[in-house]
């Protein structure tokens, strides 16, 4: 698919331009200025918002799963994460297991 390849090429160049500018500017600018605080906020909002969009409104194969199953996975994931003093791998593993097991549980209960 040449279309995707061209888009990929442009996306790679655009992404690298951030790093390239960072190399040139590093040392001449404080990394705790309000501008960077704002950039960081926007970056986190977009990244996590996109991930939440995939959980709430997935396209493709993930859309074949039940919304309640995905939310159960998210809830268990976040619960175990905070319950285990912010252990990322424990939360992740628990969330994925919950997502796999919840459809069976749901059919037993309802």
């Amino acid at each position: 698919m040449p279309d995707a390849a061209i888009l990929l090429g442009i996306a790679v160049v655009c992404t690298y331009s951030w790093r390239w500018m960072g190399v040139l500017i590093a040392g001449r600018i404080e990394d705790d200025s309000p501008v960077f605080e704002w950039v960081t906020c926007v970056a986190y909002a977009i990244a996590t918002g996109l991930m939440m969009k995939i959980i709430l409104l997935p396209g493709g194969a993930l859309a074949e799963s039940h919304l309640t199953d995905r939310l159960a996975g998210l809830a268990v994931c976040v619960g175990v994460f905070y319950g285990s003093r912010k252990n990322l791998l424990a939360g992740l593993a628990a969330g994925v297991c919950a997502f796999i097991l919840f459809p069976g549980l749901r059919s037993l209960l309802f």
Binding site: L7, M51, M52, G73, L92
Partner: protein, 241 residues
């Protein structure tokens, strides 16, 4: 992190960096990239394009935005703009990383390669390593060892997720696709900064909402709006405190 028994050579620090990657950071990265591989397969791009994204962009938010928007048939300009803004984190990240690794102020050619292989994961690791290692040459050796292992695991994970997604039963394949969203949400939740956590909460509400309004521009406008709101609220709170 203990370096007392590490030989004071470039090679020894490179290997130490690789070893430290093949633990929690590397396992998490491999899992997140398998998830990305599964999402990429589902979006219809080829394995080569998926690997090109991991190796060429090396930034999960942009990679995921690419496959999500590509699968939704979003046009070129909106896709490139969204991916570029989703990867804006690489700018402050590079600025924060370079002073820790370079020998003297100024730009050397090797810095451009360092900037490419750097990531949030390696930045966190480098900050911790710098508390124990002061020699800049050894810091760079450790950084390259760590990032080489990260990149290898990332590419392996992408290929693994991509190929497994088609061969596994539907439920398991879908679970694979859920890994990256959960991983990225937890990664952000690990932050102790209020402004970041507020951005996460607002982003999780406004980006899906924006996507419902406009498939093309919802991600970008929702994210910029959420981040700006979080920034403004935190500024106002600090000023009043």
């Amino acid at each position: 992190m203990d370096f007392r028994r590490t030989e004071q050579t470039w090679g020894a620090y490179f290997r130490q960096g690789m070893k430290h990657c093949v633990r929690a950071p590397g396992i998490g990265l491999f899992a997140a990239m398998s998830g990305f591989g599964a999402l990429a397969k589902d979006s219809g791009v080829s394995l080569l394009i998926a690997l090109g994204m991991t190796g060429g962009m090396w930034s999960t938010p942009g990679q995921v935005a690419f496959v999500e928007l590509f699968a939704a048939g979003v046009g070129g300009v909106a896709l490139i703009a969204s991916v570029t803004i989703a990867n804006v984190r690489m700018f402050p990240l590079t600025i924060a990383t370079m002073p820790l690794l370079r020998k003297r102020p100024g730009v050397e050619n090797v810095h451009f390669w360092m900037a490419h292989v750097n990531s949030v994961t390696s930045f966190v690791q480098v900050v911790e390593m710098c508390r124990h290692v002061s020699e800049k040459n050894l810091r760079a050796a450790y950084f390259f060892g760590f990032t080489t292992a990260c990149m290898s695991l990332g590419l392996l994970g992408t290929a693994f997720g991509y190929t497994m997604a088609a061969r596994m039963p539907g439920l398991i394949a879908r679970a694979l696709m859920l890994i990256t969203p959960l991983f990225m949400l937890l990664l952000a939740a690990q932050s102790s900064r209020r402004a970041v956590l507020l951005s996460v909460v607002l982003g999780c509400a406004l980006v899906p909402a924006g996507y419902l309004v406009s498939t093309n521009w919802g991600l970008l406008t929702g994210g910029v709006l959420a981040g700006t709101l979080a920034f403004a609220i935190e500024r106002a709170r600090k000023r009043n405190a």
